[in-house]
């Protein structure tokens, strides 16, 4: 269902053979089943892993493939596979399903009002309606995400750096994604999925998005960098 939410397409092996080699190599290093790669259409560099105990999928945006060079892409994939090895992906996927469903009601509410002729997407009345709907659903969604999900951001970062024996590439990749999102991203992502993403793309772009500030989860990016810089990879 999460794959359908993002309109993901399965990546065939013949088109992205290098990516498959990287994923298989990393899966071998972490001793996990190789996740199936999926792509979705977005210019924002996003990557996350979903799945159940016996099956997992790594989802990435076209923006990620365009932004990162191959070595940094490998480091980010290592981070996602580190998450798989920690065994928390099934729980986080379930929480994303529930939290995402609750949070999506605000979008559904907005579409209903658009369909009954309440104006275009940028109409102020529609924005207020969306603000009202977000006010109802975002707190329960945030409670589900905070209480239900397992936060392994820093541990995954450090485990990936230690396994690759190189922290600089991961730091560089994370910084590249983080600053791109901060400066260039104005796209809306379902806040119920925020705990899945490698770098949180959910941010407050205007007053009408103020409820998205409830999903600005710790750790702060500077804490992640500090933990990585302090990690002993030798």
């Amino acid at each position: 269902m999460i794959l359908r939410w993002y309109g993901c397409e399965y990546i065939p092996r013949n088109e992205y053979a290098d990516m498959y080699l990287i994923l298989e190599k990393l899966s071998g290093l972490f001793s996990v089943r190789c996740p199936k790669p999926y792509l979705f259409d977005s210019q924002v560099p996003i990557v996350f892993t979903v799945g159940r105990k016996k099956r997992s999928e790594i989802v990435m945006s076209y923006g990620l493939l365009e932004l990162l060079p191959e070595n940094e892409l490998e480091a980010i994939f290592a981070r996602e596979i580190a998450r798989l090895s920690e065994g928390i992906v099934p729980q986080n996927t379930f929480v994303a399903l529930i939290g995402g469903l609750i949070a999506s009601f605000s979008t559904i509410f907005q579409w209903i009002f658009m369909l009954i002729g309440s104006g275009g997407k940028d109409d102020s009345a529609l924005k207020f309606i969306r603000l009202f709907a977000m006010g109802l659903v975002m707190i329960p969604a945030a409670i589900v995400v905070y209480v239900g999900s397992v936060d392994s951001t820093i541990s995954s970062d450090v485990l990936a750096a230690k396994t690759l024996r190189d922290k600089e590439i991961l730091i560089s990749a994370l910084k590249r994604i983080y600053y791109f999102i901060r400066i260039n991203s104005f796209e809306y992502f379902n806040p119920g999925h925020v705990h899945l993403f490698a770098v949180n793309p959910v941010k407050v772009n205007s007053f009408y998005d103020v409820h998205l500030s409830l999903f600005d989860m710790k750790p702060d990016f500077s804490q992640r960098l500090k933990a990585l810089e302090g990690a002993d990879v030798n």
Binding site: F132, G135, V204, H211, L214
Partner: protein, 78 residues
């Protein structure tokens, strides 16, 4: 009045503004519930409306307090 609104928007943290707006949204739903009950009973029965209001707003306040405790611990304070 605009200076007060400007002060509230710029000096209160985003997540606190979000909680306040959520409280307002839940209050609007309560008003809607009261209107529907009054029309269906064709009379304003204070005891029923009061009981529903207290139960509803009580649970909303409990949820918001729980949320505030969680957010204070887990949110990045910008």
């Amino acid at each position: 009045m605009f200076s007060i609104i400007n002060y509230l928007l710029t000096n209160i943290k985003n997540w606190k503004q979000a909680l306040a707006l959520s409280f307002l949204s839940y209050f609007i739903v309560l008003v809607f519930i009261i209107v529907v009950i009054t029309f269906s009973l064709q009379d304003f029965r204070f005891s029923i409306i009061a009981a529903i209001s207290i139960a509803y707003m009580g649970s909303v306040i409990v949820m918001l307090l729980l949320a505030a405790i969680i957010f204070k611990k887990r949110l990045i304070e910008r």
